[in-house]
Amino acid sequence: MKILVPVKRVVDYNVKVRPLSDNSNVDLNNVKMSVNPFCEIAVEEAVRLKESGQATEVVVVTVGGDESQEQLRACLALGADRAILAQSEGLLEPLAIAKVLTKIVESENPNLVILGKQAIDGDNNQTGQMLAAMLDMPQATFASELKIEGDNAVVTREIDGGLQTISVNLPAIVTTDLRLNEPRYASLPNIMQAKKKDLSVQNVSDLGIDVSDRTSILSVELPPTREAGVMVDSVEELVEKLKNEAKVIT
């Protein structure tokens, strides 16, 4: 079984992102970039399936600029076998990314595609579902458990009321939630070894698809800030404030 894992280069989750001074977009100058955390979970799950003998090859792919090679190498260090960079000019929207990934899936023919449920930059939560629709494949989003049973993937999903388990025919698209696994840290020997693994580059403009932007960002602003609150010295004072000042309890 071959597994394809699409990943994304995003601002590190510890970075506090701010708008540019002209509010035209977010300020990404000199900020630390990382593999999107949900994508790391996807890579980890694929590598575990390989380690347990259920998968034979793990291929990571990203759509982005040359700088995204750094994140592909990080995924190779986590245990992926080879990498593909679909090189684009500028950042693409999820619809366009899904179109590029559709082409990659058609040429790679994986039995399973695992990707993060959302990227922590745009928080869109779209790419996996769009890819599944374009390929007319079944999907299992927000996975917290994944089991391969014959020609099916049995997936437990995190939904608003609790958990839901579904069974999807392979090939299928799975998107990861936080509790699917805890990704490992890459060891130094694996980081060194990753430098020798195959990383091929394809140009998105050669794929013959429309990847133009469908939306425009008019402005990016800080959210309204909350008025500074007060510190209380005791539970008694807190209850008094909640009853008489905020009037939220009686």
Binding site: Q129, M137, F142, I159, E221, V230, V248
Partner: protein, 309 residues
């Protein structure tokens, strides 16, 4: 302008998220139709027909829609989409699951999780865990949108009802099947609809200790929430999680206990009306968004609070 709202329901009742989504549709302005797709879902369709401000209900009833599997629901909505300028669904796990499939089928870039309608083409939405708010204009001829339910009031129900028209079933792809649900049964209010929420963090230390959170919640008639750290540690189930990737809540009163206030948690609750934080660490970031902060040992403060409310 014609707008289709895809209703979230459980085959018996319309969920509150549907009412918030109808309000967002009304703010765009135009003829609002509500799609109820389910199985043995007549009562949900009938209830939908009484939502104020809508002009019709489309009801598609077939066993293949019983569990709202994304493949069949997505194809159904895409087939109905013709003639509509807007397709809206709530940004809950229900809407997030299938609506991007509809957008892909229609070749549209979906706008996720809108918090306001600026004009019929322009919407505000949070990005980077709510660190920034982007104003986004859609240039697609059809808009496919998920709606952050806490950002829009619920539509009212009216005494009269609109027409319910049956819609056509789209053949199933038959590539996905439902196995089972583990839905927590609780007498407490639902987290996203609760007026008061008491949330606990990693500082609780165990699921046993989490009972003091539950006791306070029950005294206040509140829902119980948790930070990611508390869920990851196994103190409470996943559906308690409030935050960027969990539930987005905006109650009248949010009491954060033993929660440090990582930005990913704040993203899920900072629109609450009144925020109370109880934490041992006076430098915890949660105090920067709290209206009332109490520095102290939660194992003393929480039982005392429970006794005095």
């Amino acid at each position: 302008m014609s707008i289709l709202v895809v209703a979230e329901h459980d085959n018996n009742e319309i969920k509150g998220s549907t009412l918030n989504t109808v309000t967002a549709a009304s703010e765009i302005g135009g003829d609002v139709s509500v799609l109820v797709a389910g199985s043995e879902s007549s009562s949900a369709a009938e209830q939908a027909s009484k939502i104020s401000g809508i002009s019709s209900v489309i009801h598609v009833d077939d066993p293949i829609y019983k569990n709202f599997l994304a493949e069949d629901l997505g194809n159904l909505v895409a087939s109905i989409a013709e003639g509509f300028n807007y397709i809206l669904a709530p940004a809950t796990t229900f809407g997030k699951n299938f609506l991007p499939r509809v957008a892909a089928k229609l070749d549209v870039q979906q706008i996720s999780d809108i918090i306001s309608v600026e004009d019929p083409d322009t919407f505000k939405r949070p990005i980077y865990a709510g660190s920034c708010i982007a104003t986004v204009k859609s240039n697609d001829s059809v808009k496919v949108i998920t709606v952050r339910t806490t950002a829009f009031d619920a539509s009212l129900m009216s005494d009269s009802s609109v027409t319910v028209n049956p819609g056509d079933v789209v053949d199933s792809l038959n590539n996905s099947s439902f196995v089972n649900d583990e839905i927590a049964e609780s007498d407490r209010p639902e987290l996203t609809a609760a007026d008061v929420i008491v949330s606990g963090g990693r500082a609780l230390g165990s699921s046993e200790n989490f009972k003091i959170i539950e006791a306070l919640a029950d005294k206040l008639g509140a829902a119980v929430g948790a930070s990611r750290a508390a869920v990851d540690a196994g103190y409470v189930p996943n559906d308690y999680q409030v935050g960027q990737t969990g539930k987005i809540v905006a109650p009248s009163l949010y009491i954060a206990i033993g929660i440090s206030g990582a930005i990913q948690h704040l993203a899920g609750m900072k629109d609450s009306k009144i925020i109370v934080a109880i934490n041992r660490d006076e430098d915890a970031p949660i105090f920067q968004v709290a209206d009332y902060g109490l520095v102290g040992d939660l194992f003393e403060a929480v039982p005392e609070l429970t006794d005095s409310v």
